[in-house]
Subunit: 454 residues, 2 copies
């Protein structure tokens, strides 16, 4: 061994509590509004689709939320995840920067998503839920919830966007291996699905339709609840195990980040790494720059409006104040499917609006190039979402080189790309483009915002 490459914690160092950023915010979050009344929603409005424990977490402003032992027991299958020092990438870049990454791809589903899936499955089981419904696009979230459902003996129905159901059978096979029931959406099982099929028998589906189907089934059945993989406060809360572990591991490395970088779609991956560091800073601790990276094709934080909007395209959800491209905005078909969301979680939007974090939008091609460079240096092929963080990290490291300064850069490698090799195939075949967003469509979608004042 000539140098230390990674920092491992034993399983008894899995955090005992999640960190809740709401406790340290300089200003409280804008309330979530009922779309009918325009009034703030309360716990009662959420109970038809979420169990009481998660509703309480959604509203909580306690700084620490204890992680139940059964959740830590399942986390222990892969957590604490390793923190790596990217020494080979540093050498390839000839940079004086110290680059670290927290690697979430070691989870059974290959990404960070199980951090919240396990917690949500546990609380639903604990509160008496008999069945969970959810939606999935390419299948990363659906397979994570299927995994968690299997471990807690909770059946999971996944409404999967039909085009993915047919064209991406491998994530579907993963869900079925875990015992989940996978339904192509739109389906004949729900009113929303039947209504779409009546008008468009050949509909290939959309995430918006799939959400509508999953929520409808949860509302319709007393024993069934709904689970969401990002955006909401309790989901971001569960992801903070990532940053809490990273803090301890950076201390093992006798270092601390000057910059924390993560990609952001709905916001849960970003929050997981960044919130514990931001909280420390807000409480008067160490200063650290925090950067959210999004695709140029879906530039929510950098080009969206900070306004009330629906979380789904079918307008079934409450209104949330967030950065949004408008719920009718359809981003182009870039391969980082997890970053193609029209909105951004209210918590991440709030801290961006307060100027507490930075954001940048990057093009698809430079991100894939960065991903390939990373794979050849560090050995891990990153998921397309994570290549956005990597591109930003390389820029930062190149800036260090140009300035002749050494900064510590920490980023979140949210998942491996083993299920995304078609994207790399297309990249090498020269089939990918830098899909800029459609300026006219964005204007139209922004004009369509419900226009509710805070």
């Amino acid at each position: 061994m000539t140098e230390t490459t990674k920092y491992l914690l034993p399983e008894n160092r899995i955090p005992r509590a999640w960190y809740n950023l709401a406790a340290d915010l300089p200003e409280p979050l804008a309330p979530v509004l009922h779309p009918g009344t325009g009034q703030p929603v309360g716990p009662d409005d959420m109970l038809p689709i979420f169990p009481p424990s998660l509703v309480a977490q959604e509203m909580s402003v306690e700084r620490e939320v204890e992680i139940p032992d059964p959740v830590r027991d399942v986390y222990a299958l892969w957590r604490p995840t390793p923190l790596h020092r990217a020494r080979r990438l540093e050498r390839a870049l000839e940079t004086p920067a110290r680059i670290y990454y927290k690697y979430e791809g070691v989870s059974p589903a290959g990404s960070h998503k199980p951090n919240t899936a396990v917690a949500q499955a546990f609380y639903n089981k604990y509160d008496g839920t008999k069945r969970l419904t959810t939606e999935t696009g390419a299948g990363q979230w659906g397979s994570s919830l299927a995994f968690a459902g299997a471990l807690f003996g909770l059946p999971v129905d996944v409404y999967m966007v039909r085009v993915s159901f047919e064209q991406k059978p491998y994530r579907r096979a993963l869900m079925e291996t875990y015992g989940a029931r996978c339904v192509a959406s739109p389906s004949e099982e729900t009113e929303s699905g039947r209504a779409i099929l009546a008008r468009h028998p050949d509909s290939t589906g959309s995430l918006g339709i799939a959400i509508s189907e999953a929520v409808e089934m949860a509302v319709a059945r007393d024993d069934t609840q709904y689970a969401l993989g990002s955006v909401l406060n309790h989901v971001l809360l569960h992801q903070t195990v990532v940053g809490l572990e990273a803090m301890e591991q950076m201390a093992m490395a006798d270092d601390a980040p000057d910059v924390v970088i993560a990609c952001a779609g709905g916001g849960s991956n970003f929050a997981g790494l960044a919130f514990p560091y931001l909280g420390e800073r807000l409480r008067g601790g160490r200063d650290v720059r925090i950067v959210a990276v999004e695709p140029s094709a879906c530039p929510t934080l950098t080009r969206g409006s900070f306004a009330y909007d629906f979380g789904d395209t079918a307008h079934l959800t409450p209104l949330m104040k967030m950065y949004t491209l408008g719920s009718s905005f359809v981003p182009s078909g870039i391969h980082a499917g997890g970053l193609r969301y029209h909105g951004m979680s209210p918590l991440v939007s709030h801290i961006k609006a307060l100027g507490l974090i930075e954001a940048e939008a990057l093009d698809q091609l430079e991100c894939f190039a960065a991903g390939v460079r990373f794979a050849r240096a560090e050995g891990i092929v990153p998921a397309p979402e994570a290549t956005h963080a990597i591109r930003a990290v390389i820029r930062e490291a190149e800036a260090c080189k140009a300035e002749g300064t050494s900064r510590a850069i920490l980023f979140n490698l949210s998942g491996h790309g083993h299920f995304d090799m078609q994207a790399y195939t297309d990249y090498f075949a020269g089939k990918l483009r830098d899909e800029a967003y459609d300026e006219a469509a964005l204007k139209e979608a922004i004009a369509d915002l419900p226009g509710v004042a805070a």
Copy 2:
């Protein structure tokens, strides 16, 4: 935390030496013979395709072979791998057995193969090789060597069986992401390839043809060497990091295995876990049963002849004494591609012939059923090869239950199944069968053995 689930070692506990079983054998291995002269091959016969360091390891009878620091540095990207206690599987089986598994799926390529790929790439680089060639079927070995080549700056040419090249593009994309050149075999690049194409322009290729192409290129070029992913002594040697780590981790668990189980195709995965335990036993240490598991469709150890045979179908390799179904035997197309080899490594064959280990052959369907059961209990979807070990483990655990005794069972989970979801899809769709071997074809292939006496 209510119970310990896994045992982790820090990276400075990566073994400092591989374990060489040749040092502890009660009888020496039969010599490898030159196919032309019938005489034992010496180092000079191997140097056209392997670098001097690896030729020396192939012949070595030293008990410990030091692992160079640059190899340990790369191992540290994912090693030491975790040892898990399969408590959820134990509960699901209601067995008093203690089940442990060593998980090699956390490597960048998702299997145990990089353990030797990294070592082979290092020694080739060290000995001045400028380019490596190899063959690959589904791509597990090719992607591992591509990964290792990338980290040591060594270009890799992978001759990939054409049918896999066309039908399984994802492993190919993984190799190309690591920078390897992937060539559909048979190709126009080699005499062997051109000869096949002249006779069969539509040839879909075979592992035998791909080996011939890779070896031909290594022989033809002074600066190019060949790398093999299993069978040979030095390959098995490199895999012993698995068992050496497991021994230390079992001690952390304050336990020791009564039975060690691993699947066996060419033998390197089996050897990696089993040889350190067998060596300890042979030196008068703790008694432990050791079981190799193979598919019923390719029952090399259980139904093959122990005889001299070629390693490839084209008869370019030296003659090795091994359990073999005959080099002309073509196993049916089961999904555990890594277990479809007509022979078995000479070292594993030797210890089986000496009665030092057990072997059993299992059907494909019961193995997939065991794999699904494992995934739903432990969360990890196993590669089809590894499901063979899991099926054997479940049987052993059920025997413990029937007997009312608790034994410690240790097995090697050689890789995850994220690249094998088509196999699970076919399994759930009822498309898989128990492909028994063809008794008549086996007899014919055995009759075709070269008939060289030891």
